[in-house]
């Protein structure tokens, strides 16, 4: 998978995070589904790699990650602002 620009990378991270959220809710009430746990672990590992890639190129996605100078956390835009968000249509598909 080649996701070079910010929006494509953010889209894949968003998709994988949602995958993890949904699996987490499922696993809370199906804690012995071995296959789902395996899937969850795969998704989380992949997301963490992509988050690291995002962090290196585009700054802080979450607190408790390092910052360049000046302090990167305050960088515009913010998630509720239109220009923060990516278009749903695009080339880069989620691939584990």
């Amino acid at each position: 998978m080649i996701c070079v620009n910010r929006d494509e990378l953010l889209k894949v991270i968003t998709a994988l995070d949602f995958f993890a959220i949904d699996l987490q809710l499922y696993l809370n009430t199906h804690p012995t589904d071995r296959e789902a746990i395996q899937k969850y672990n795969t998704v989380v590992k992949r997301t963490n790699e992509l988050r690291e890639q995002f962090h290196k190129s585009f700054g802080m996605l979450t607190p408790n990650t390092t910052s360049d100078y000046p302090w990167q956390w305050i960088e515009d835009p913010w998630p509720w602002e239109r220009n923060f968000n990516f278009e749903l249509a695009g080339e880069c598909n989620v691939d584990l």
């Binding site: 959220i21 809710l25 009430t29 996605l61 998630p79 602002e81």
Partner: protein, 197 residues
């Protein structure tokens, strides 16, 4: 505790201002079946919940509702940000506008400010989970009414996403309720045997 993720659960990217739509979507921010009530309901109920499965379900769904609250707020913000005074007047947004400008305020579509009276935390695990099943259905209906009023794909897509989540949450609460029922049944059986012997 919580740690913020600097992104939305699902993107909100609305190009066309539509104060009329904003004036009804606000109800999923601070209305009777909105995301604020949902989140505070589940996160409050978890303190007296029983069984690991049901506790985790309340915590994680309550947390996801916070992400939905943020999405709804973003929708209201983007629908009004570039609206002209004429559009605000024509869209019926003027009553909200004189009270809150283009700020996002927790109120229902009919202008009633948010109140904790929208939800219960009854301290009875079964009672609370039954309330949550109803709450998810009411929120689903609300999203369907909003979808009936929406015509912009940028608005329809996230509303559909949010509607689907209500269905998943309903399913999970049903499963959590079964764990709680089973636990309480077993407890009753054991304490009954104890008094008999």
């Amino acid at each position: 505790m919580w740690i913020y993720d600097k992104k939305l659960e699902y993107p909100i990217k609305i190009s066309r201002p539509d104060p009329k739509m904003a004036s009804v979507i606000i109800t999923q921010y601070g209305g009777p079946d909105g995301e604020m009530a949902a989140s505070l309901r589940y996160l409050s109920q978890r303190f007296s919940m029983i069984t690991p499965q049901a506790k985790a379900t309340l915590l994680d769904i309550g947390t996801e509702e916070l992400a939905h609250l943020e999405m709804v707020g973003a929708m209201v913000q983007q629908l009004t940000k570039n609206a002209t005074i004429e559009e605000i007047e024509k869209g019926g947004f003027a009553p909200y506008y004189v009270d809150h400008g283009k700020g996002v305020y927790a109120a229902s579509a009919s202008g009633v400010p948010f109140t904790a009276a929208y939800f219960q935390s009854k301290g009875d695990p079964r009672t609370d989970l039954f309330e949550n099943l109803a709450a998810e259905q009411k929120a689903r209906s609300t999203y369907e009414y909003l979808l009936n009023l929406a015509d912009d794909p940028d608005v329809i897509q996230p509303l559909k996403f949010l509607r689907e989540r209500e269905i998943v949450h309903f399913q999970r609460f049903g499963e959590a309720l079964r764990y709680v029922q089973e636990y309480l049944e077993n407890k009753k059986r054991f304490s009954y045997n104890k008094t008999r012997s």
